[in-house]
Amino acid sequence: MSGFSRTVTGPPKGGHYDLCVARGPACASALALTLIAAPLAACRPAPPPPVNEVVALVAPSLPIDPADAAWQRAPEYLAKLVPQDQVEPRLLTPSTPEVRVKALTSGGEIALRLEWADAAVNDTPGPGAFLDGCAIQIPRTLEAAPPDPQMGQAGRPVDIVFWRADWQASVDGRPDTLTALYPNAAINGYPFEARPLEPGSAAQREAATRYAPAQALGNRRVGPRPQPVEDMVAEGPGTIAAASAAPGGIRSRGKGARTATGWAVVIVRAVPAGLAPDARTAIAFAVWDGAAREAGARKMRTIWVPLAVRG
């Protein structure tokens, strides 16, 4: 745990208490709204008012479940999304208009909860089928002027954590089989599952890998997977690559779930380098709507948004 957690002097507080000790540009307006809402707050804790930057509240533990009650005390930032229309292939028809963001931090890690409206579940990959997803992007180093929001720039990398609905379905128990994707599929057999190869044997797995070159090369598109998120790095459009899996590399985790109107996803990653209660970094968000055939560069995204920590 880094120094953030030492600022926590007691049990988690309600939204009012947090606002009273808030520091930063949201403090004055938040206090005014709190006073207006005071009579109602006698019945139940009111949600904290929205903020104009992403504020990560210090918390003793970070909930991975987007429905966890701990999220109720975190202030919400409404991030407007714009189409990625800077590099080809561009998204010229806007889809998801906004994503609502909350953040908590334990000092060593930061948890971000993204929620957006999406009427249709798109979690089944296939030809011409695309997947719901979201991502957060943070500059590798804390700088006064962050790199280009379009996935960084050469020599100035950004760290990206990407969540996708099909990975979530896999983590939630969907079998890694063709019939899980196509329930009516009839399969006569595969040569690598025929005798004399013993099921589950090393020889059988090796034979199967011959027909799955992406798996043989360690491409993380291939399931099954232990986490519905993937750590990536990028230094500009078209450069995104898997982050190092070496010890010390980013090891994020996450969980997504359907809400009444769309998706809520929690992504937990290491606190960005240099981020402290008195320092801000930048963060950006992206959302893909599978129903709108969005993938890769065809996405809705934000510009850089300030990310602050509040103890």
């Binding site: 080809e88 690598f192 027909y211 491409n219 995104i240």
Partner: protein
Amino acid sequence: MARVHNWQIGREMSYWYPENRPKKQFAAVFDINKCIACQTCTIACKTTWTSGKGQEYMLWNNVESKPYGFYPLAWDVKILDKLGPQSWKGGPYEGRTLFEAADAGERVLGWRPESDDYAYPNVGEDDCAGQIDKGAALSLPHMNWLFYLARICNHCTYPGCLASCPRGSIYKRPDDGIVLVDQGRCRGYQECVRGCPYKKVFFNPMTGTSEKCIACYPKIEQGLQPQCFVNCIGKIRLAGWISKPEEARADNPIDYLVHVRKVALPLFPQFGLEPNVYYIPPVHVPTSFTRQLFGPGVDEAVKTYRNAPNDRDLAGLLCLFGSTEMMLSRWRRQGSVVAGIDERGDAVMQVPLDEPVHVRPAYDRIYQIQRTNCP
């Protein structure tokens, strides 16, 4: 967009990357007139490369009946419809290529097939329309003819798939011009599936990546022709290397058929990809149809092919099709013997141009019986 030269359309055109031709370009000639749609090529490819999970629907090689067969559904008519009517009178192509006709924000004009579009290869393609009631009549735009179109990846000089990939996961090998998807780098955006007008890149839902014909490059690296070539029952295929027109050699089999005799033509050259599989067009099909598929040279190609019985060189070279598993870099005819020559200059195959003909009478006088086997 860069400006590149496309000799198939006789002019410069726009492409996403600058012109960068490989040292050698893999190419092939398919003689459509000899294809019987037995699908042996399809099975040879299927068993070799696409028997894995998520590849069930994939046919890197397929044979479809034209004009009413497609794999995937409507692949050619959809892109033709999107491109719209274009003009090509015989000189430089006057219309727009798929790169030049790309919509705003796109690198190439394209569309994406869905799962169902792949679901019914060769189902009902050869049937006219099922039951026709007595007294009723059936009228179709193209009556009384069909032909079989065998298709693999064209390993284009200007691939639509390569241009479409936003992260450079597709590359063209500098040594042989074979176009491959880097399976370690692909992230499954399906932009290549959208951008290939021939629809010869396929998304694998189990690996999350796109996959395509690899021209059996492990065989080519050993001087051998791909599986779909050597298993062809009808011996319709010949693999080799194609030169630029100004560097064409008459003793190169592919150059001879494509550049010298101009009897083998690219598929939809007007798309602008400079595809490297060439077709000897079907001689029985109205050229009003095949001109759209193979360009304005189709009338002359049919005329040349029809004259093959009187053309010892052309007929001789056609005899080399399917005669050997070896890749042939050169060929020569000496009298009535045609030789195929490999990269080292060794004659690896010799075939007779004239074979003895035996006529077996229908009536066997010795056994006093008709030999016909009709009931």
